[in-house]
């Protein structure tokens, strides 16, 4: 007898929950047992009693939250079926960032795939997405509108390099999320033959070292020394998105503000952030890839976790696929990224980020976010993308 999909996976305030295996997936509050798809802070939080994730994701969580981020950890080997309670669980590459995985849950002949965040485009810093056939496909919809078609990343990187050539006396400050995007941009630059040092904001350093230790060649990536900023004419500097508008970035020679993000596809978005050189580089699937992936999984039913749910649900319905939005809170909340404070730098008196007027994250969710060790570079808002 086939189980109903909702018997296998249900929605709880903590996030998706599998009663038959008694675990949550990417819970937003501390739980007994969490299966984590990838290391971004809106999916991987600390304070769970036990965490199961890929080896890379566990390492990332260790770097971000300290080695004691969970009571116990269990490494999930890719493409191997593991029994948890009355269900079998299998992790497969999701192509989003290093260590990112989809989680397939199977019981009674029904398979549900929780894809987490994923992309189909090539990425030299992580394993490519693998299609996992299933009955129910749970997808994000960050870029779930047909206006989002990500261009060839090589052209975007070339845009950056051309600008560096045209403005050799200026520093190019590239805003990129600290986990995944930053390293992907570095790798893409290297693929295009850029062999000069790529300068890093301090908040990028440890994760970049982690990537390198996983065998991803990123070349020379010195940390920016505050006093030396004015000497970096012609350099490419990568920093968290919140820093591109910071005083920190203004101390470089006549900086060109760049931002690597799928949101840069929309001009108004780029302008709002004061971006002068938008680079459309995304770690999420664009519209075409979301649709294509749904079809390729062969799923008869689609649940949409977060993002532009309505359009994707509409598309599924017009293509004869049952679909429903989960309206899940706490994932990919935009705006959050912008206002995430990072430690004051070089005594520039960056004020604590206050949240009047622009509250986007439900307070209960934020309150539930466990505190992080203060010595750790906090995540720079990959939540948003």
């Amino acid at each position: 007898m086939a189980l109903r999909s909702t018997d296998i996976l249900t929605q709880t305030p903590q996030g998706l929950y599998c009663p038959l295996g008694d675990f949550h997936i990417d819970p937003v509050r501390p739980v007994k047992r969490a299966l984590i798809t990838h290391g971004h802070s809106d999916h991987a939080r600390s304070g769970h009693r036990s965490v199961m994730a890929t080896r890379e994701t566990l390492r990332i969580m260790g770097v971000r939250y300290g080695e004691d981020f969970a009571g116990s950890t269990q490494e999930a080997p890719l493409r191997e079926t593991v029994r948890i309670g009355d269900v079998s669980v299998r992790f497969s590459p999701a192509g989003h960032v290093l260590g990112s995985a989809q989680i397939a849950i199977e019981a009674g002949g029904t398979r549900i795939v929780v894809s987490g965040d994923y992309k189909r485009a090539e990425d030299p810093t992580c394993l490519p997405y693998e299609v996992v056939p299933c009955d129910v496909f749970i997808t994000e919809a960050t870029f779930g509108l047909p206006v989002f078609r990500h261009p060839d990343t090589r052209q975007e990187v070339k845009k950056l390099l051309d600008s560096v050539e045209l403005f050799p006396e200026r520093a190019h400050i590239v805003g990129a999320y600290a986990l995944g995007k930053a390293q992907r941009v570095m790798a893409l630059l290297r693929e295009e033959g850029y062999d000069k040092p790529i300068h890093l904001h301090g908040a990028m350093e440890r994760l970049t070292e982690l990537y390198k230790s996983e065998g991803i060649p990123l070349g020379d990536t010195p940390k920016v020394v505050a006093a030396e900023r004015s000497k970096l004419a012609g350099a490419i500097v990568i920093c968290p998105p919140s820093s591109i508008q910071d005083l920190w970035s203004r101390r470089f020679p006549d900086p060109v503000t760049c931002f690597a993000s799928g949101w840069m596809r929309v001009r108004a978005r780029a302008r709002q952030k004061g971006v002068e050189l938008p680079l459309v580089i995304s770690d999420h699937s664009d519209w075409d890839d979301l649709c294509r992936t749904i079809l390729e999984t062969g799923a008869g039913e689609v649940w949409v976790t977060h993002g532009q749910e309505d359009a994707l649900v509409h598309w599924c319905t017009t293509h004869g696929i049952r679909a429903r939005p989960l309206h899940m809170l706490g994932y990919g909340d935009e705006g959050e990224a912008e206002e995430t404070a990072h430690p004051p730098l070089e005594g520039e008196g960056r004020e604590r980020s206050e949240r009047g007027g622009v509250e986007t994250r439900p307070p209960d969710v934020r309150a539930a976010t466990p505190p992080r060790p203060s010595a750790d570079p906090p995540p720079q808002g990959e939540d948003m993308q």
Binding site: R120, A121, E122, P128, Y129, E130, V131, V132, P133, L145, P146, V147, F148, R149, P151, D152, T153, R154, Q155, K159, D162, S163, L166, F167, Q245, L247, S249, R250, D254, T257, R265, V266, R267, A268, A270, Q272, G274, V275, E276, L277, P278, D288, D289, C291, R292, L295, E296, G298, Q308, D310, A311, H314, W315, T318, G349, E351, R355, G356, G357, V358
Partner: protein, 624 residues
């Protein structure tokens, strides 16, 4: 087209003038004729073709997309051209392949075949047609990276769509009939990438606003050959797109093109502001003075074409041909030559305030009613040419005599002389400047914003040469206001809260309250900016995107002394007034907010400027 699109795309994000210039020069240097010439024409507004209506574009996209998805997308993006450019389904790129039997043994490779083909279709011609060293967005329309489909190269069965060049687009637009237009545009849209489509829509709908003035584009052309922009300006009005002769000349490959315009623009001579310390260096007896009128600087040129018919043109200070906006004034140019003066509105012999003049400006339709209500007047102060004779090398005093004779001969009420202001010493002139009404200006005094001081021996030189002409503006109005909001600046100041909205006190329903009266973003030093920025950050009470509301009230808040040139009534502002050129003249760290000015202070200034004559009772038309 892709290179032009990439240029527009980049310019649209670039706030700095010099960086824009660099991008333009780079584009002109690396783009062949005639494309670069058409690009220049597009940016200087010199293109002639019937524009496509946004409705046409919308119709095209609606035939190709799910209406519900289009609606959601448009709602999200907010701009029609951009939405259409992004959502446009490229041919052969059905957004997704039909479902295939995938259960079991599915790997990463699924779906590659279809996408590979799309890639080859889109990328082949895009990269081939424009061998560009620039950030040309020759990106395939598909989102997949070429590596994915790399094994399927060009040479397959589908012929690649033809990516149009800018020249092709413009030449075709000029000749295509209205009924053929939609199909043409659709075919181009199919061949272009997202940025290309966006630029195409902007171009064909004539909505090409990318923050490049005609002057800046011409400056870039001049820089290409290490010339001064005025050298290009001098011959500009005789030239036509695609300007191959112009490019040949600036690149040193051809003769200087002849200006075929019998009434060309000559670069205006501009003045320097007079600083207090200048008086000691200047001998009053070497100078002549006029009033500085609060109007719009214009140059009126008149000549005749080869067929003998008169050609009359009116140019703005920067050489923009504005003749069409002032048919009444064009009619009055019954002379041959070029004169320099101030556009004013004169009713019943009295000069009206700048507020009145503004109601005549920037109107799309110049109706007889508008002309009757706001009659344009040219108050002249210099002459550059008379007939074929170039008077510019003559001393100012000599030119003035020639000008007086010309105006007398013209005998037209729409053109008169700007009177000289007699003075023997700088003190005399200071007195006149302080009270123009008693110094001969009479009731026109409200339209005077100071004095112009010109060396009697001064030739008429293009640009802003030193030592000849000075402007000595009347003192600005001052008001003490309280900072209410700070906003992030742009470009270099984008990380600073550098734009400040300030208010003055008025009586509200719950007692005295602050009402915003203006916004200023200059007047302070870099050091003061740092302090103001810190003040905003430390006193924020609310945030609205890039704007922060700061603390203010009777017992808290920062007082800013604001200087401004004038006031006008405004329905767009809560307070009902709008300031001209407001700037921060002093930061009053010491002054309590409760002692800032009240709205009545502004009302009084406003009344001074409103002594105008209303020709028509019905003012509604003016509010439009």
């Amino acid at each position: 087209m892709n290179r032009f699109a990439a240029l527009l795309d980049r310019l649209g994000y670039e706030p700095r003038r010099n960086a824009k210039l660099r991008l333009l020069v780079d584009y002109f240097r690396h783009t062949p004729d005639p494309d670069r010439g058409y690009a220049l024409a597009a940016m200087t507004g010199a293109l002639m073709f019937k524009e496509a209506k946004p409705g046409l574009i919308r119709g095209l996209v609606e035939e190709r997309t799910d209406p519900e998805l289009f609606r959601m997308s448009y709602h999200y993006v907010g701009d029609l051209a951009e939405t259409v450019a992004l959502i446009w389904p490229a041919p052969g790129h059905e957004s997704v392949a039909p479902p295939s039997p995938l259960r079991g043994g599915v790997g990463v490779g699924v779906g590659k075949q279809e996408r590979g083909a799309d890639n080859a279709v889109a990328s082949g011609p895009a990269s081939a047609s424009e061998s560009s060293p620039l950030p040309g967005r020759t990106t395939p329309t598909s989102n997949s990276s070429p590596q994915e489909g790399g094994e399927i190269g060009p040479g397959h069965n589908n012929p690649p769509p033809h990516v149009p060049t800018l020249s092709e687009v413009i030449e075709t637009l000029a000749t295509t009939s209205k009924s053929d237009l939609p199909a043409r545009i659709a075919a181009w849209m199919d061949a272009l990438d997202e940025t290309g489509r966006w630029a195409l829509i902007k171009l064909v709908t004539r909505e090409l606003r990318v923050g490049v003035s005609a002057r800046l584009a011409k400056t870039a052309v001049a820089q290409l050959g290490g010339m001064e922009p005025d050298e290009v300006e001098l011959i500009w009005h005789g030239l036509e797109a695609p300007y191959e002769d112009l490019f040949a000349w600036v690149e040193g490959r051809g003769e200087r093109p002849e200006s075929g315009n019998p009434a060309p623009f000559r670069p205006s001579m501009l003045s320097h502001p007079l600083e207090d310390e200048d008086f000691a260096k200047l001998d009053a007896s070497d100078f002549l003075a006029e009033w500085k009128w609060d109007g719009i600087r214009l140059q009126a040129a008149s000549g005749h074409g080869s067929d003998g018919r008169p050609v009359r043109r009116i140019y703005s200070r920067t050489g923009e041909d504005v003749s069409r906006a002032f048919p009444d004034l064009v009619e009055a140019l019954d002379f041959e030559g070029a004169i320099d003066g101030e556009l004013l509105i004169v009713r019943e012999g009295r000069v009206q305030s700048f507020n009145v003049l503004q109601q005549r400006l920037n109107r799309k339709a110049v109706t007889p009613k508008l002309i009757a209500e706001f009659p344009a007047h040219l108050r002249v102060y210099d002459i550059l040419f008379e007939g074929e004779e170039d008077l510019r090398p003559l001393p100012f005093a000599e030119r003035r005599k020639r000008l007086e004779a010309l105006v007398t001969r013209l005998d037209d009420p729409r053109i008169d002389l700007s009177p000289m202001v007699p003075f023997a010493s700088w003190d005399d002139l200071a007195a006149a400047r302080g009270d123009p009404a008693s110094a001969g200006a009479g009731p026109d005094a409200d339209a005077i914003e100071g004095c112009m001081i010109k060396r009697a021996s001064s030739p008429y030189l293009p640009g802003r040469p030193k030592g000849y002409w000075y402007k000595w503006k009347r003192d600005p109005y001052l008001v003490d206001a309280v900072m209410m909001y700070g906003q992030r600046g742009h470009g270099k100041r984008s990380s600073f809260y550098s734009d400040y909205t300030f208010g003055v006190w008025r009586d509200g329903p719950d007692g005295e309250e602050l009402v915003p009266v203006g916004k200023a973003y200059h007047g302070f030093t870099d050091e003061e900016l740092l302090k103001l920025d810190r003040y905003v950050r430390n006193h924020t009470v609310k945030r609205f995107g890039p704007v922060r509301e700061v603390e203010y009230g009777k017992d808290r808040g920062l007082v800013l002394e604001v200087a401004f040139e004038g006031l006008q009534r405004s329905t767009r502002h809560k307070s009902g007034v709008a300031m001209r050129f407001p700037r921060i003249s002093r930061i009053r760290w010491d002054k309590p907010a409760a002692e800032a000015d009240r709205i009545e202070t502004l009302e009084k200034i406003l009344e001074r400027g409103e002594k105008e004559i209303h020709p028509l009772k019905d003012r509604e038309a003016n509010e439009a």
